[in-house]
């Protein structure tokens, strides 16, 4: 009885401490910064924020949020596994673009039954993303170019190469849009329950036209399940396999991992291959599931790679955290677009708020009262220098 009470009390204290911790405080301060930005734009934030919440949570909001959350969570998962291993992959955008390109090529040219083509397209996309990521990894491991730089610079050739192909050899003749021809109906990733299927009409009759669940089943496609499977797989690998353990170890302390016998070169390459494969998969699922064609600049324009990066950082690369933060950031985006429609505030406000959240978390903003003095700042001149000294010993 008493122990239960004590447990309750520690739980309450813990959740209070969490609420006063960096994540909630940063989110609130970031929203306040957003409010200032809205006011600078000459609009009352107390009009704009309610329409943001309404847009994200009511009517078509939940369906749109889930639809956006799917690629964001996918990209965040790709980056989270890299960051967890201490591999700073900034090339997810290029890996996603090449994945989308490879998948489109397969979907447009391969004959055969739709589902088979979809699977082959996904495999091709994963291979393309993985190869591009592996190139960045090899540049680090055998050429000494930091992966941060190599992966980032490789975004640009990927972007321009895909743009070139879409503009010239692959462009649909006679179309005003700079895009490839449409992907045939059979090779598109279907909605969870398509509107014109028997199930879809039955659901519409029983739930009503405006029901949120109905809208979700119609507008969200199977990519969501694939992404959830990826999250589950990552959880399993992280917790239960030696590889997952090694990558977590290397991310926390590379030198210790090496000392413990982890082959870090292989680890970096392996991590980048997985990271790139997931990015490529997200790219092809966007083409086969939403756009149904490769449009010039569309994959870069979604900004999903960079949103995913912020999500992975917010979640501190934990898979379940990625799910929650990914849904939150997707809701911010959908809400931001609703706010743009009803109040005329640019939807880029969402990006400002998202980046501000991460900046504030990184500088470890907390409520001053809860901060234990003397513990969070080391009393030495430079921690890096001390690490260096220790490393030499």
């Amino acid at each position: 009885m008493t122990t239960e009470l004590a447990a309750d009390r520690t739980l309450a204290r813990r959740s209070l401490a969490w609420l006063a911790g960096p994540v909630p405080v940063s989110i609130i301060v970031a929203l306040a910064i957003g409010a200032v930005a809205i006011a600078i734009a000459g609009i009352n934030p107390f009009d704009a924020y309610p329409s943001m919440v309404e847009g994200a949570l009511t009517g078509r909001g939940p369906a749109n949020t889930l639809q956006r959350a799917t690629p964001i969570i996918g990209m965040a998962m790709a980056l989270a596994i890299a960051f967890r291993a201490g591999v700073f992959n900034l090339g997810a955008e290029g890996q996603m673009v090449l994945g989308g390109l490879a998948g489109t090529l397969v979907a447009l040219t391969m004959p055969g039954p739709g589902p088979v083509v979809i699977v082959v397209a996904c495999l091709a996309a994963m291979a393309a993303g993985a190869l591009w990521a592996m190139l960045a990894a090899v540049l680090q491991t055998s050429m000494g170019v930091p992966i941060l730089i190599s992966s980032l610079l490789l975004n640009y050739p990927a972007r321009y190469f895909s743009s070139y192909l879409v503009r010239f050899p692959l462009k649909e003749k006679g179309s005003s849009m700079v895009a490839t021809p449409m992907i045939p109906d059979g090779t598109r990733i279907p909605a969870l329950i398509p509107a014109d299927s028997a199930w879809g009409t039955a659901l519409r009759h029983s739930l009503g036209k405006e029901n949120a669940l109905l809208l979700i089943t119609r507008n969200v496609n199977y990519s969501l399940l694939v992404v959830l499977a990826v999250v589950a797989l990552v959880i399993f690998v992280n917790r239960k396999t030696p590889g997952g353990f090694e990558s977590g170890l290397a991310g926390q302390n590379l030198r210790f991992a090496q000392y413990g016998g982890v082959h870090t070169t292989a680890l970096v390459i392996r991590t980048m291959i997985f990271s790139g494969a997931i990015s490529g998969l997200v790219g092809v699922m966007l083409v086969l599931g939403s756009d149904f064609r490769l449009i010039d600049g569309a994959l870069v324009g979604t900004n999903y790679a960079w949103t995913g990066l912020l999500v992975a950082l917010l979640a501190a690369h934990r898979p379940v955290g990625v799910l929650v933060s990914g849904a939150f950031f997707a809701a911010l985006i959908v809400g931001g677009e609703a706010m743009q429609r009803s109040n005329g505030v640019s939807s880029q406000l969402s990006q400002v708020i998202q980046a501000a959240v991460i900046i504030l978390i990184v500088v470890r903003l907390t409520l001053p009262r809860w901060r234990r003095r003397g513990r969070d700042l080391p009393a030495i001149a430079d921690r890096g220098a001390v690490d260096d000294e220790v490393g030499k010993v």
């Binding site: 930005a37 600078i40 734009a41 000459g42 201490g86 700073f88 900034l90 540049l139 680090q140 050429m143 000494g144 170019v145 930091p146 941060l148 730089i149 190599s150 980032l152 610079l153 490789l154 640009y156 050739p157 972007r159 321009y160 190469f161 743009s163 070139y164 503009r167 010239f168 590379l254 960079w306 990066l309 912020l310 950082l313 505030v345 640019s346 880029q348 406000l349 969402s350 990006q351 400002v352 998202q354 980046a355 501000a356 991460i358 900046i359 990184v362 500088v363 470890r364 700042l377 080391p378 030495i380 001149a381 430079d382 921690r383 890096g384 220098a385 001390v386």
Partner: protein, 306 residues
């Protein structure tokens, strides 16, 4: 394709134009690197400088006031980086990446808020920075138009290469700064406050990135377009690595980049698809980095985790 027309005096002029913004940002990154702060927020700082320069020039009707406003805005954002990475000891890579994304978002947002346009903002009320032609010297063939017909920021950038080199290696200030970067404990034992020098270095990189942005948006062109820094801040980071944090070497790396951009632009005029030549500066930079790493095994760049 007419190859004989590819290289002439005008090409050199466009090389110099292309390299100046990168050079300014790279000098900022170099000073931070020497002080022991890995600054990869150059891209975002430069982009914010671009926007503030255009907005300032539009509002005040003076290009030079635009430059001042660009510097002020960029310094304000670099103060966040300084506080985070020096006082709070935050991961400079994560902070830098987040600041870069913040830069893209906030400039796009303010573009709509202030000027009600998306994408590109062009207006006759934006006053650009004119070039200042130095008589006689500018008449020297090839070199003259390239080096003696620049904006004031352009001249400043070239002079700063030499000033940085001198201060860094010939003056006590530079010695202390390098000491702070290499052995902070030793520096603080000698009464040099490492944090103060690091703050100074990051804020100076803010000034330089503000100038870089102003040169890009009021000097090279007279307009703002979303994400117009287009990776130049990252190229500046690479230029510091290639130049091994030496001002002259970094300048050399910037020349390489400027040449790739200008030559790519020229090839485009000769019928090569824009998408191929647009990728050239990034590919050339990457290849240069690979070659440099091969021949100089241990780079100075210490802060990069390898």
């Amino acid at each position: 394709m007419n190859w004989s027309n590819l290289i002439d005096g005008e090409l050199f002029a466009s090389v110099v134009r292309a390299l100046i913004p990168v050079l300014l940002a790279a000098l900022g990154g170099l000073i931070c690197e020497r002080a022991g702060v890995f600054n990869i927020a150059l891209e975002g700082l430069m982009l914010i400088g671009c926007f503030a320069a255009v907005a300032g020039s539009y509002a005040t009707g003076s290009g030079y006031l635009g430059v001042l406003i660009a510097v002020a805005a960029s310094v304000a954002v670099s103060a966040v980086l300084a506080y985070g990475s020096v006082t709070r000891r935050a991961d400079p890579i994560v902070l830098g990446v987040a600041l870069n994304i913040f830069g893209v978002g906030v400039t796009g947002f303010l573009l709509v808020a202030f000027f009600h346009v998306r994408g590109v903002f062009q207006n006759p009320k934006i006053i650009g920075l004119g070039t200042v032609r130095i008589p006689l010297l500018a008449d020297i063939p090839w070199v003259g138009p390239a080096l003696f017909n620049l904006t004031l920021i352009g001249y400043l950038a070239l002079i700063l290469v030499i000033v940085t080199q001198l201060v860094m290696f010939r003056y006590p200030l530079g010695l202390r700064l390098r000491g702070v970067g290499e052995r902070p404990t030793a520096a603080s034992t000698l009464g040099v406050n490492p944090n103060r020098y690091r703050y100074g270095a990051v804020l100076i990189s803010g000034v330089l990135c503000g100038l870089a942005g102003a040169q890009l948006a009021l000097g090279n062109v007279v307009q703002f377009s979303e994400n117009m820094s287009a990776g130049r801040g990252w190229i500046a980071v690479v230029a510091v690595m290639l130049g091994r944090a030496h001002p002259i070497g970094t300048f050399g790396a910037c020349v390489l980049f400027g040449f790739a951009e200008a030559f790519g632009f020229r090839l485009q005029g000769n019928g090569l698809p824009a998408q191929i030549t647009d990728a050239a500066p990034y590919v050339v930079t990457l290849i240069a980095l690979i070659i440099a790493r091969k021949y100089f095994k241990r780079g100075i760049v210490s802060a990069v985790i390898e």
